[in-house]
């Protein structure tokens, strides 16, 4: 049990980090923890960087996580993993990331180099934390990468007090039908 656990979630508009943050908040609630958070809405969702904040514990007041303070940084894309990790990961924190790559404009235009696995590992090393990689290839549908990451978080026990059963409760609260079944299979 913790009285403050901060999670910063990063991705690209369209990757479904809203569902991931909603599931984490509801999973925390199912585990009897106080949780709050906030998602990016509006224009930024059009293929830009998006972020969700999730804060668990009774000593959290604002919905926003502060830079350099996240116990857990979650990223659904490699460039976002580097950016979000550098900005938000705290000393000794964990960076869980899906290795999908959607190149930002400057990389596609050839003016900046693409991010590499070693860049993500460097972030974790600089913060004396660890990086947990979730392979995108192992997920049958790119729209379920968010759930694959949720499964990794719960399976590895990256959020104190949160297990797979809480994640299943959360998804069951949010989805139904074949989509729910497909997502629950990842949380088995």
């Amino acid at each position: 049990m913790t009285d403050r656990f901060d999670i910063y979630i990063a991705g690209v508009g369209g990757q479904g980090i809203g569902l991931l943050s909603e599931a984490l908040i509801r999973a925390a609630d199912a585990a009897g923890l106080t949780a709050r958070g906030c998602d990016t809405h509006g224009l930024a969702q059009r293929g830009g960087s998006v972020a969700s904040h999730v804060r668990i514990g009774s000593r959290c007041h604002s919905a926003l996580v502060s830079e350099g303070s996240a116990d857990l940084v979650v990223a659904l894309e490699i460039h976002e993993a580097v950016s979000a990790g550098r900005a938000y990961l705290k000393e000794g924190g964990t960076l869980v990331w899906c290795d999908a790559s959607w190149q930002p404009l400057a990389v596609r235009l050839g003016t900046e180099r693409p991010a590499e696995v070693s860049d993500v590992e460097e972030v974790a090393a600089l913060r004396r934390g660890r990086a947990v990689r979730v392979p995108a290839d192992a997920v049958p549908d790119p729209r379920m990468q968010n759930t694959a990451v949720l499964a990794a978080i719960c399976r590895e026990g990256l959020v104190p007090g949160l297990g797979l059963e809480h994640a299943r409760t959360a998804l069951t609260d949010l989805m139904s039908g074949p989509a729910l079944e497909a997502n629950l299979r990842l949380l088995a």
């Binding site: 943050s21 224009l43 604002s62 830079e67 580097v82 790559s101 596609r108």
Partner: protein, 630 residues
């Protein structure tokens, strides 16, 4: 919570994890609102999403998306005039559009009561500025409540609705982006038993509704007296509270700055002198007695507020008039006037005010190393084809003017289309002014279809009437895409179902535009030719570059098809590719990925199979194979 609509109508008290915008909708239901209007704009459109979740036949109030914020405000005002509790919501800068009517509201007797919900955007997360609409409250003598969280948004809407009805006036509920979108477990009360049907109340025989010359003054006097009465109303004052117990230091704050302050105070050094807090819900009129009592009992008081020194100015004046010796600490420079009061910023402000509060330095980020990722037009977006084609028809030195919508993103590289932006619908008029001094430059401006109906038409009328030498390209995608695909008068649907479908072309003709061309934006060569043609002709001319929003179209098609969803994704044929990079560097669909040795690959995650890129490859290396499941 699978069924949001059912949840929002529950009879018994309950708790649910929701965002502020959703919490507001339960408050609308509990407050017996009868008429609600809006124009979509971040951070408020999710209020309408939650309203839409309630089945139309069980929705206790009528809702509409009006064509702009001024119209929305006037429709809600009319309903409140008829005696029905009413509300309107829109974004920060929407109030500028609505202002002409808005500032009149406090002068008039509004029997049903009207709540104006403003979505301010400190931090300019989704807006062209971060204007502080508390100034409008002062300017118009309108009371303003400011919640800090989803729970407070729900509680304070109900307070605002009761104050508006009791004082027969308009009350502002000022939300900010991270109140609208903050998610937490909110405690909701029971649904009241059925509301009595309000009687028709508009009676211009008994009550003056025409502020004209001398009749303005009795109305203004009443507005000022009513504002003072609300400043004494126990329910309004009940939104303020004090935390702490007798420190010689204090902080007066409101809104999300209060939550950030609480976070910062969690970090203070043991044994340091923590300040007490006066947290205001009623921000205008300033709760004078509560502020004075708080000041009198303390030696030093910091005024902590986001954006402009609105509270600070009033509090300092009040303390001066009362001859208080309390030291009042306000803003210290330009940085204090900018951006959101996020926890880190508030901690910095606090440690600048009282350096002894903290011992450890605040955690800092590592310097950025990966490329930033600005928003961009989606794969398949018709605007991309349009900008790519229009750019080919222009010469260096030609001038392009942007407007508001997804097509504003054309400003970013590699397109660089649309060089100046003021506000909704400004483009034709700004372009007109530029064209007066064009000296051989050609002037092209852009306008979306939703914005055409919102505020685009007066500039067009002016260009026709005053004979401006401008080419307007209407970027028609058949929806209000940027704010979440709301309908508009050109879509054939309103929030409440099928509606007359207004034609942009017919409207242009009706406004006297003689020179009109139309083309599907995917027909790039044709669009380039039409732009060349039009620019060679004198006077004001319009090209309608039409293509449906592909994000909306693809989502809907995918939803319909379910597991049977198939697309013909584009692929780069490596044997034909000459690596000239027209696709990735100039057409620049985000699906194209740069690979080793200058090769280009199409992302399987991103390509929607629209094929609009294929015509850009001079070598014909972009191919579409058979349909595949995804």
């Amino acid at each position: 919570m699978k069924d949001l609509g059912e949840t929002l109508l529950r009879k018994e008290p309950f708790s649910e994890i929701v965002i502020g915008n959703t919490a507001i909708v339960r408050a609308l239901v509990e407050s017996g609102l009868r008429s609600v209007t809006a124009y979509p704009g971040s951070p408020t459109p999710e209020i309408a999403d939650a309203i839409a979740a309630i089945p139309a036949d069980r929705r206790p109030f009528r809702f509409e998306f009006s064509v702009n914020e001024k119209v929305a405000l006037e429709v809600a005002f009319g309903s409140a005039l008829a005696g029905r509790p009413s509300a309107v919501f829109f974004k920060s800068v929407g109030l500028n559009v609505a202002a002409d009517s808005f500032v009149q509201l406090p002068l008039l007797d509004i029997p049903g009561g009207l709540v104006v919900i403003l979505g301010d955007d400190p931090g300019a997360n989704s807006s062209q500025n971060e204007q502080d609409n508390r100034h409008y409250a002062r300017m118009s003598y309108m009371p303003l409540l400011e919640p800090a969280s989803a729970q407070e948004a729900y509680d304070m809407f109900k307070t605002a609705a009761r104050l508006a009805a009791r004082h027969r006036t308009a009350v502002i509920l000022r939300l900010t982006t991270h109140v609208c979108h903050a998610k937490e477990k909110v405690d909701f009360e029971a649904l009241p038993p059925a509301f009595p049907r309000p009687a028709w109340a508009f009676d211009p025989e008994r009550e003056n509704y025409i502020p004209l010359a001398a009749t303005v003054f009795p109305l203004k006097r009443r507005a000022l007296e009513r504002l003072a009465a609300i400043g004494r109303d126990p329910e309004a004052l009940g939104t303020n509270f004090v935390e702490g117990s007798g420190s010689r230091r204090g902080v007066i704050t409101a809104g999300t700055a209060w939550l950030s302050l609480r976070d910062a105070l969690e970090e203070t050094k043991p044994g340091s002198e923590r300040p007490d807090v006066l947290k205001l819900g009623l921000v205008h009129p300033l709760p004078r007695d509560a502020v004075l009592a708080f000041l009198r009992a303390r030696e030093e008081v910091k005024v902590l507020e986001e954006l402009d020194p609105v509270l600070e100015t009033e509090i300092k004046a009040l303390a001066y008039d009362e001859g208080l010796s309390t030291r009042i600490l306000g803003k210290r420079g330009v940085e204090d006037l900018m951006g959101e009061c996020v926890p880190a910023k508030v901690r910095d402000i606090l440690s600048g005010t009282w350096p002894d509060l903290f011992d450890a330095p605040r955690p800092a980020p590592l310097p950025a190393s990966a490329a930033p990722r600005p928003p961009q037009m989606c794969p398949g977006c018709g605007h991309r084809s349009a900008f790519y084609a229009i750019k080919r028809a222009l010469s260096p030195g030609d001038v392009t003017v942007a407007d508001i919508g997804c097509h504003t993103l054309g400003y970013l590289p590699p397109y660089r289309m649309g060089g100046v932006l003021l506000s909704m619908g400004h483009s034709t008029s700004t372009a007109s002014g530029l064209s007066i001094f064009r000296e051989g430059r050609r002037v092209v401006c852009f306008l979306g279809d939703s914005t055409f109906f919102h505020a685009g038409m007066p500039g067009i009328v002016n260009a026709v009437y005053n004979g401006h030498e401008v080419l307007l390209v209407v970027m028609e995608n058949g929806t209000t895409a940027m704010t979440g695909h709301q309908d508009h008068p050109g879509t054939g649907r309103s929030f409440n179902g099928p509606a007359p479908k207004l034609s942009v072309r017919a409207a242009l003709e009706g406004l006297g535009v003689k020179n009109i061309r139309e083309v599907d934006a995917y027909r790039q060569a044709e669009l380039t030719a039409l732009v060349r043609e039009a620019l060679a002709e004198p006077g004001f001319k319009v090209i309608i570059a039409r293509h449906p929003c592909m994000l909306k179209l693809t989502r809907e098609a995918r939803r319909r098809a379910g597991a049977a969803w198939k697309v013909r994704q584009v692929r780069v044929d490596p044997d034909t590719c000459v690596k000239n990079h027209e696709c990735i560097e100039r057409f620049a669909c985000p699906s194209f990925q740069a690979r080793e040795g200058g090769a280009v690959e199409v992302s399987r995650d991103l390509c929607i199979g629209d094929g609009s890129c294929r015509q850009t490859c001079p070598a014909g290396a972009l191919v579409q194979d058979k349909e595949e499941g995804r």
